[in-house]
């Protein structure tokens, strides 16, 4: 090792994530097809496969977030807001979680403002919404809800569930509490931190984007809200 320079993991971060994502894509696709063929029953195998799908989606989401944060830090991310038709955006985001929802028999309500177009970085926001829905699957009882509409000159994307909701301290503390690892809940805070950073990157004139957590909503559980001016 003596002739090598000091190790620097960042050199391999991009290429490794790239490589791992190819593997995970194939894995995910295989599980999805197996699930589609298998009949949803009470058997342990079906349930285990569904859990595998959930885990691969989590890994995929985390990898993208890590790599993207690394790029933000080095000014390497090509941030490019584009006009997006909201119905199309929602359809695409939902398609990433439909197999998981179906396998867990979780219902999804979608409510969108008609004829709505908004400008944002599609890939980043799609990543947040998919990750949030994926996360909600773990905490909900049997229903999710995606609502997108304009509120006070900003686009608000709400992801709601009918689970027990967020612990009150998370709702109260806002993004200040969203950092640091919590091994007892398995949450690293990465997802919320990532969402907060991306929201901040979006802005118009004086207002910056933001995220917040609420309890209640139309389904009575946890609500994650992303606001993009």
């Amino acid at each position: 090792m003596s002739h090598l320079p000091k190790p620097d993991a960042s050199l391999f971060l991009a290429s490794s994530v790239h490589d791992m994502k190819n593997s995970i894509s194939v894995l995910q696709d295989t599980i999805r097809r197996l699930l589609a063929k298998a009949a949803p029953d009470e058997s342990g195998e079906y349930h285990e496969m569904s859990q595998m799908l959930y885990e691969t989606q989590r890994i995929n989401g985390n990898l993208i977030q890590l790599l993207t944060l690394y790029k933000f830090g080095h000014d390497l991310y090509p941030f490019n807001p584009e006009t997006q038709e909201i119905a199309e955006f929602a359809r695409s985001a939902v398609s990433h979680v439909t197999p998981l929802l179906t396998s867990r028999q979780i219902g999804l309500e979608v409510e969108l403002e008609d004829d709505c177009y908004w400008e944002f970085d599609t890939d980043l926001v799609n990543g947040i919404v998919v990750h949030a829905m994926n996360n909600a699957v773990q905490y909900t009882k049997d229903a999710l809800r995606l609502q997108i509409e304009t509120v006070d000159d900003a686009l608000e994307i709400r992801i709601e569930d009918n689970g027990r909701g967020f612990p009150q301290h998370m709702v109260d503390d806002g993004i200040a509490a969203m950092r640091g690892v919590n091994f007892s809940t398995g949450s690293t805070g990465l997802g919320l931190y990532f969402a907060a950073v991306v929201a901040q990157m979006h802005g118009n004139r004086k207002e910056r984007g933001s995220i917040r957590l609420e309890n209640g909503g139309k389904l009575g559980g946890g609500c994650f809200i992303l606001r993009l001016p």
Binding site: N22, S25, E88, T98, L101, E109
Partner: protein, 549 residues
């Protein structure tokens, strides 16, 4: 309110997918299998899906069969990347305008999303690709292609006014593409001497939202008008807020160079390279800048990198070879310079490259004190100039003239410089550059004299035609203008005045098909030389009115 299951399948044109042909390009077998299965699940006929694992294979397949939709991984391992495969397919006309080329990438990078290549895919998709995303994207691209087909056609015919009208009509009904149409319209206005109108639009957009391309547009208007200080200020701010906006870096480097701030230009280009290491044109600009400032090692490195990056690209240009030859020539290695020029001559087969190659060859000999070889090259160059009417762009033409002046063919050199001045009699930079050459070769007095007489002659030739036209003698006026254009084919004012006289003649005595074509040629030539010239639009409108009659 809609439920998830029906929601996922909405709006999908299964007919469109079922009758389409597909090519999947990916170096990874697992991904090829997965993308093919996604396509089958979307309703594609398995017999209509072909696969390729690298660039050459893909090009072979594309040559054999017409594909409606291509899914191509950006990263194809060694050799060509996805963008270069697309470039080659376009260049060889293996794909038509209706083909959807979708680039699939594992991650979003500046290079994949904002590559400065002129050839762009129709869409980028980030892995994993789902059926719903793919079908929605294909439907969207098809709709957009249909919407833009007339506009694209008008743009490639350089019919800017029509293209602008079509953009306006379309934007009124197409909400999804309204912003994109507005951006195209502003670009077209900038290209057709209507920067005032473009500025109004940019300012209107910026009053409502921070839109980077509108900010860049404002900066470019400053650049066009030579206000590089103002442009720099805007661009520095723009980059501060949009760290990955490469076009802004390139524009800023241009303005720094115009202000003589070469160090700053160098720094900003280095930052752009860190973001996007694979652009060969930017490496070439770095090389040219370094050569200009005498940093020969840096220049050589940049030019060699340019050649390496362009190795698999069909869009190579001779400039990096010429730059490299000059650089190694300046490093007192004329043999290597010659090798580089020989390599270039094998790749490019046209008069312009041959002229420039000979000119650099002679210059390198001269620079290294090889007087006999330099004189020989100058002689060859002079006879090549007699045989060909092609003249390279001004900088290269001035270089040829300099060689001819120092290496013994003085009359030819003077004639070239005379034409240069006559083409741009009012342009201070041209006149300065020409005077500088004369000073360098010890002919300062002769130079001032030539500049004066050339400018005078250019004015007289043009005025002769204008005076005749004023008296209503259009046929003689047009003859005079044609003769003047023979002497100074790139004089923008002359081109526009000639068009004006031809139009006035036809407005009085009726249109003539051949003269209409000649007028249009003159106008387009003027526009290409000087896109910011505001008279272009007014003259084009008069031409359209005559064509409509």
């Amino acid at each position: 309110m809609i439920s998830a299951t029906t929601f996922g399948g909405a709006d999908i044109d299964t007919q469109l997918i079922a009758k389409s042909t597909f090519l999947v390009i990916d170096d990874f077998l697992g991904m090829r299998g997965m993308l093919s299965s996604v396509l089958r699940n979307c309703g594609a006929n398995p017999k209509s899906i072909d696969t390729a694992s690298n660039g050459p294979e893909a090009i072979q397949q594309l040559a054999k069969r017409r594909y409606d939709i291509v899914l191509c991984d950006f990263n194809l391992g060694a050799g060509q990347n996805g963008m270069q495969v697309l470039e080659e397919a376009k260049h060889k006309s293996l794909i038509g305008p209706s083909c959807c080329w979708i680039m699939v990438t594992a991650e979003k990078t500046v290079d994949t999303v904002m590559g400065t290549a002129e050839v762009q895919p129709d869409a980028y998709l980030i892995k994993p690709v789902t059926e719903a995303v793919l079908t929605a994207r294909i439907a969207k691209i098809k709709a957009k292609k249909e919407a833009f087909v007339d506009i694209d056609r008008a743009i490639s015919a350089r019919d800017f006014l029509k293209a602008i009208r079509l953009c306006e009509e379309r934007a009124a009904v197409d909400k999804a593409n309204a912003i994109e149409l507005l951006r195209i319209k502003c670009d077209l206005q900038m290209q057709s001497g209507q920067s005032d109108k473009a500025r109004q639009t940019y300012e209107k957009i910026l009053a409502a939202r921070d839109v980077p391309w509108a900010q860049l547009g404002l900066a470019r208007i400053h650049q066009q008008a030579g206000r590089h200080d103002a442009a720099c200020q805007l661009l520095e701010q723009l980059i501060e807020q949009n760290r990955s906006y490469l076009d802004a870096y390139d524009s800023l480097a241009e303005s720094y160079q115009a202000l003589g701030e070469n160090e700053k230009a160098e720094t900003i280009l280095d930052r752009a390279v860190a973001l996007s290491p694979n652009s060969h044109s930017r490496q070439r600009i770095i090389g040219e800048l370094a050569l200009k400032t005498g940093k020969l090692d840096r220049a050589e490195k940049a030019f060699r990198k340019t050649l390496k990056l362009a190795e698999h690209s069909v869009r190579k240009t001779p400039d990096a070879y010429l730059g490299l030859a000059r650089t190694v020539g300046a490093k007192a290695d004329p043999q290597e310079a010659l090798n580089v020029l020989n390599q270039m001559d094998k790749l490019f087969d046209n008069d312009e490259v041959r002229l420039r190659s000979k000119s650099v060859e002679g210059y390198v000999y001269h620079q290294n004190g090889l007087a006999r070889q330099a004189a020989e090259a100058a002689r060859d160059l002079a006879s090549m100039l007699d045989r060909s009417s092609v003249r390279p762009e001004p900088l290269a033409t001035r270089e040829m003239a300099e060689l001819l002046l120092v290496a013994g063919n003085r009359d030819k050199g003077l004639a070239l410089l005379r034409t240069e001045v006559m083409n741009n009699p009012d342009d201070v930079r041209t006149v300065d550059a020409v005077q500088a050459i004369f000073r360098k070769v010890g002919l300062a007095d002769e130079g001032s004299n030539l500049v004066e007489t050339s400018r005078k002659e250019a004015g007289e030739l043009m005025n002769a035609g204008i005076l005749l036209a004023r008296d209503g003698n259009y046929t003689d006026a047009i003859e005079r203008m044609r003769a003047a254009l023979e002497r100074m084919p790139r004089n923008v004012r002359l081109l526009l005045n000639a068009a004006h006289i031809m139009l006035s003649y036809m407005e009085r005595d009726g249109s003539q098909a051949a003269l209409l074509r000649e007028t249009k040629r003159n106008l387009l030539a003027a526009n290409q030389l000087s896109p910011s010239e505001p008279r272009f639009v007014e003259l084009m409108q008069r031409l359209e009115a005559l064509q409509g009659r």
